[in-house]
C-alpha cells in the first residue's frame, strides 16, 4: 500500500486535488446557495479555532484548552454588552482580550508551575464551562441563555467590489465582520509564521526546544506569546459563536467545536491555508446536516443527522494519521536515498579506486 503511494505520490496528489475540486463544484451546483453561505459562516469558529491550535502546535504545545477559551470568549462578549448598549465591537474586543488572558494564564501554569499539559487543559475547560454558567446565574439571574434585546449582533457587511461579481459575489460577501477577520487571519498567521522573526522563533521552538535554547531563543517567552496569541484567536472564535449568529450566550455554547478545531489543525498539518479549506469542509458537514434536518420530505431522525459531522471528524482523524504516516515514510525514504548517495560519494573519495592494471 505504502509502496504504491510512494511511487505514485505526484499522481495521487493531483487526483486528490482534482477529486476535491469536483466535489466542491458538485456542492456548489447541487446545494442551494444559502447552504453554501451557511457552511462558510459555520466554518468560521473552526477556522479561527484551528488557527489558534496550529500556532500553539507550531510552538510545540498541544493546546487542548481551546474549547474553554472559546467558551470564555463567547460568554465575555455577551456579558460585556449585557444591558450596556455598547457597540458589539467592544464585545469582540473584550472576548479577544479575555481569551488572550486565559492563554497567558494557561502558559504560565504550564511553563512556570509545570502542571501536566493534558490535566491542566481538562481542568481549565471544566472550570470555564461551569464558571460561565455560575456567573450567568449569580450575576444575571438567567438560566440556560443569556440574552437581552440591548445586545446587538455584529452587522452584516457587503464587500464593496466583490459583491457585484455574478455568482461568487453572493457567496463571498454578506457576512458579518468576524468571518472576514477569519479570512484575514489566515494570511496574517501565515505571514507571522513564515515571514517574521517571531514566527521563525516559534517554528524553531516547535521543531526542537533544546536546539532553539542553545541558539539563544528564550523558549518560555516564545511559548507564552504563542499561547497568548492562540488564546486571542480562540476568544474571537467564541465571540463569533455568541455575537455572530444569535447574539446570545447559551450554556456550553461551544459544544465540542474547540475539539473539532484541534482536529482541523492536525488535518491541515498545522499550516494556515490548508486549515482554511479543512474548516470549510467541517462547516459544510454541519451546514448540510442542518439543511437535511430542515427538509420535511426527508425523515431521517435529527440525532442521526447530527452524527454526520462527528463521523466526518473520525474519518478525518484516520485520514490525517494515514497522511502523517505516509509523509513520514516518504521522508525516511528520501533521507535514506540522500544518505546512501552521500555515503557512496564519500566512499569513492576516501577509498581510492583499485589501480588499473596495465
Amino acid at each position: 500500500m505504502l509502496e504504491f503511494i510512494s511511487t505514485h505520490q505526484k499522481t495521487l496528489q493531483r487526483l486528490l486535488i482534482i477529486g476535491g475540486g469536483i466535489l466542491a463544484l458538485l456542492f456548489l451546483f447541487a446545494l442551494p446557495q444559502n447552504v453554501i453561505k451557511s457552511s462558510i459562516r459555520l466554518s468560521t469558529p473552526f477556522l479561527l479555532g484551528s488557527l489558534a491550535a496550529l500556532i500553539a502546535s507550531r510552538a510545540g504545545v498541544l493546546n487542548l484548552a481551546i474549547e474553554g477559551k472559546m467558551l470564555l470568549g463567547a460568554f465575555i462578549a455577551v456579558a460585556v454588552l449585557y444591558k450596556t448598549n455598547l457597540d458589539p465591537w467592544v464585545g469582540v474586543l473584550a472576548a479577544t482580550i479575555s481569551g488572550g488572558l486565559l492563554g497567558t494564564i494557561f502558559a504560565v501554569l504550564y511553563l512556570r508551575i509545570r502542571i501536566n499539559l493534558v490535566i491542566l487543559a481538562l481542568a481549565l475547560n471544566l472550570f470555564v464551562a461551569n464558571a460561565t454558567v455560575f456567573f450567568m446565574r449569580v450575576w444575571y439571574d438567567s438560566y440556560g441563555t443569556l440574552a437581552d434585546p440591548s445586545i446587538q449582533g455584529l452587522p452584516t457587511i457587503d464587500l464593496p467590489i466583490i459583491q457585484d461579481i455574478p455568482v461568487a459575489g453572493t457567496i463571498l460577501s454578506g457576512y458579518n465582520a468576524i468571518v472576514y477577520i477569519g479570512w484575514l487571519m489566515v494570511i496574517v498567521i501565515w505571514l507571522i509564521l513564515e515571514r517574521t522573526k517571531f514566527g521563525r522563533h516559534i517554528r524553531a521552538v516547535g521543531e526542537n526546544k533544546e536546539a532553539a535554547e542553545t541558539v539563544g531563543i528564550n523558549v518560555t517567552r516564545v511559548q507564552i506569546f504563542a499561547l497568548t496569541l492562540s488564546g486571542m484567536l480562540a476568544g474571537i472564535a467564541g465571540a463569533f459563536l455568541s455575537l455572530g449568529v444569535l447574539s446570545q450566550f447559551l450554556e456550553n455554547m461551544s459544544a465540542g467545536r474547540g475539539w473539532i478545531a484541534l482536529t482541523v489543525a492536525i488535518f491541515a498539518l498545522n499550516r494556515p491555508l490548508p486549515a482554511f479549506f479543512t474548516s470549510l469542509f467541517f462547516g459544510a458537514a454541519e451546514a448540510i446536516s442542518l439543511y437535511i434536518a430542515r427538509q420535511p420530505e426527508i425523515t431521517i431522525p435529527p440525532d442521526l443527522i447530527s452524527l454526520l459531522p462527528q463521523v466526518a471528524t473520525l474519518l478525518a482523524l484516520i485520514a490525517v494519521a494515514l497522511r502523517i504516516r505516509g509523509s513520514e515514510v516518504m521522508k525516511r525514504r528520501a533521507f535514506v536515498q540522500q544518505f546512501s548517495q552521500e555515503f557512496d560519494d564519500l566512499k569513492r573519495k576516501i577509498i581510492p579506486p583499485p589501480p588499473q592494471e596495465t
Partner: protein, 424 residues
C-alpha cells in the same frame, strides 16, 4: 522515619490541594454574595451528613432531639442513619464513578490518556438495558409464562443469576470493543487517543440519543425512555433486600454495584501490581521504546489495557442501569459519568484506594452542590471546586519544591541545594 515522612508528604499534598481549592472557590462564593463557611458547611452536610447536620461539627457528632422525651441525644454521625444517610446516597452515586475511574486508571497506566469512558459507558448501558428487558420477555414467551409473577423457585433464582450476568457481560464486551477502536488507531496509526476518544464519545452519545428516542422508545412520555428492565435483571438495592431493616440505607439505591466495584478494585490492583501483564503495562507507560527494547510487547499491552478499560466502563454503565436507573432515559448519555471518572482518576493519582476515597468525595460534592441550588448558589459550584482542586493537586512538583525549601530552612544542614523537580 523516612517512610513516615513519605506518608506525611503523600497525604499532605492532596490535603493542601483540597484546602486551597476550597479557599479559592470561596472567592467565587463571596462574589455570589453568600457566606462561604455557611455554604461549605451546607455543601458537606448535604453530601455526607446525617439527618440534622448543619455545621461542620455535625459531620462527626450530631445532636438530635428525641421525639418521645424531648431530650437532646448526641449520636456519632457517620453511623446515625435515621431516615437515611447522605453518605449512602453518595456511595450510590459513586459506584459508577469508581468503576469509570478504575477504567481510566487502567488506560492511564499504559500511557494512554483515554477519556472515552462516556461513550463506552452509554453503549454498555444500552446493551444492558436491551438484554435486561428483551431477554426475560423472550424467555417468558418460550416457556409460555403469561404472568412473570408466576415464576417461582429454582427457575426464578436461575433467571436472577443468569440474566444480570448476561447483561453485564454484554455491556462489558460492547465497552471493550468501543475502547479497542481507540487503542487500535493509536498503535497502528498513532492517532492521538485523547482526540479520537472525544470524537468516539460524541458519536456514541448521539447514537444512543437516537436509539432512545426512536427504536427503543417504550412510551409517549415527554422525555424519551426505554422499557423498564425486568425484575429478574434488577440488582436489588440494599434498602429493598438484604439490609432492608437498616435505616442507614433507606432512601438510597446503593446495592450490589458497590460490592462489584470493590471486587473490581481489588482485581485491578492485583492485575496492575502483581501480574506479569500489569508489569508489562506499567513498563509501557514509563518508557515505551525502552519496554519494546527489553522485549515487552508494548502494542499488545496497550490493546489489552484498552480492552480492560472499555470493559470496566461498560460494566459501570450496566451497574448504573441494572442497579439504579432500571431504564435508560434520554439525557443519561450526556450525564458525564465517564468524564467524572477521568477526573477522579487524575485526582487519585492512579492509586486504587485513592479512587475509592476521591470517588466518594466527588459524588458527595455533586449531591451537595445540587442541593445547594435550592439556596442561592448554582450547582456548578461543585464542578468549579473540583476543577480548582485538580489544578492545585497537579501543582505537586511546585509544592514539593516549596516544602523542601521550608524544610531546608529549618534543618541544620545549610549547604544542601533543594532537589530540582523533574521536568514535565
Amino acid at each position: 522515619m523516612k517512610r513516615l515522612r513519605q506518608i506525611i508528604e503523600d497525604f499532605s499534598i492532596p490535603t493542601i490541594a483540597v484546602i486551597l481549592g476550597l479557599v479559592a472557590s470561596s472567592f467565587f462564593v463571596v462574589l455570589a454574595g453568600v457566606s462561604p463557611t455557611e455554604t461549605f458547611a451546607r455543601l458537606f452536610c448535604e453530601g455526607f451528613g446525617s439527618r440534622g447536620c448543619e455545621t461542620f461539627g455535625d459531620l462527626l457528632f450530631v445532636e438530635i432531639e428525641d421525639e418521645d422525651t424531648g431530650l437532646f441525644v448526641t449520636h456519632f454521625a457517620p453511623t446515625y442513619g435515621d431516615r437515611g444517610h447522605a453518605l449512602a446516597l453518595a456511595l450510590e452515586q459513586a459506584t459508577p464513578l469508581i468503576l469509570t475511574a478504575l477504567s481510566a486508571t487502567v488506560a492511564f497506566k499504559v500511557g494512554m490518556f483515554s477519556i472515552g469512558m462516556d461513550g463506552q459507558l452509554v453503549l454498555g448501558a444500552v446493551v444492558a438495558t436491551v438484554i435486561g428487558y428483551a431477554l426475560p420477555n423472550q424467555i417468558y414467551l418460550w416457556a409460555g409464562v403469561e404472568d412473570p409473577e408466576m415464576v417461582v423457585g429454582l427457575p426464578l433464582i436461575m433467571m436472577q443469576i443468569f440474566i444480570p450476568t448476561l447483561a453485564i457481560s454484554g455491556a462489558m464486551i460492547t465497552g471493550a470493543f468501543y475502547s479497542w477502536i481507540a487503542g487500535f488507531l493509536k498503535i497502528k496509526l498513532n492517532v492521538n487517543e485523547l482526540i479520537s476518544t472525544i470524537v468516539l464519545n460524541a458519536i456514541a452519545v448521539q447514537f444512543v440519543g437516537y436509539l432512545i428516542n426512536f427504536p427503543l422508545r417504550a412510551d409517549l412520555n415527554n422525555v424519551g425512555r426505554s422499557e423498564r428492565i425486568d425484575d429478574t435483571a434488577w440488582l436489588i438495592p440494599f434498602s429493598r433486600a438484604i439490609f432492608e431493616d437498616i435505616d442507614w440505607f433507606s432512601g438510597s439505591r446503593l446495592g450490589i454495584g458497590i460490592v462489584i466495584a470493590v471486587i473490581m478494585g481489588i482485581i485491578i490492583w492485583v492485575f496492575l501490581w502483581r501480574t506479569k501483564a500489569g508489569y508489562e503495562q506499567r513498563m509501557t507507560q514509563g518508557a515505551r521504546k525502552f519496554a519494546v527494547f527489553g522485549g515487552i510487547p508494548a502494542e499488545r499491552a496497550i490493546i489489552r489495557a484498552m480492552l480492560i478499560s472499555g470493559a470496566l466502563s461498560g460494566l459501570a454503565g450496566a451497574v448504573q442501569i441494572l442497579g439504579v436507573e432500571r431504564r435508560i432515559v434520554d439525557g443519561f448519555a450526556s450525564s458525564g459519568i465517564g468524564f467524572d471518572g477521568v477526573l477522579i482518576a487524575i485526582l487519585a493519582k492512579e492509586s486504587i484506594l485513592g479512587i475509592f476515597i476521591v470517588g466518594t468525595l466527588f459524588a458527595g460534592l455533586k449531591i451537595g452542590s445540587i442541593n445547594l441550588q435550592f439556596g442561592d448558589i448554582p450547582r456548578q459550584l461543585g464542578s468549579m471546586i473540583i476543577a480548582l482542586i485538580i489544578l492545585f493537586t497537579s501543582m505537586e512538583d511546585f509544592f514539593r519544591d516549596w516544602i523542601t525549601r521550608i524544610r531546608l530552612r529549618f534543618s541544620p544542614i545549610r549547604d544542601v541545594t533543594p532537589e530540582k523537580s523533574k521536568d514535565v
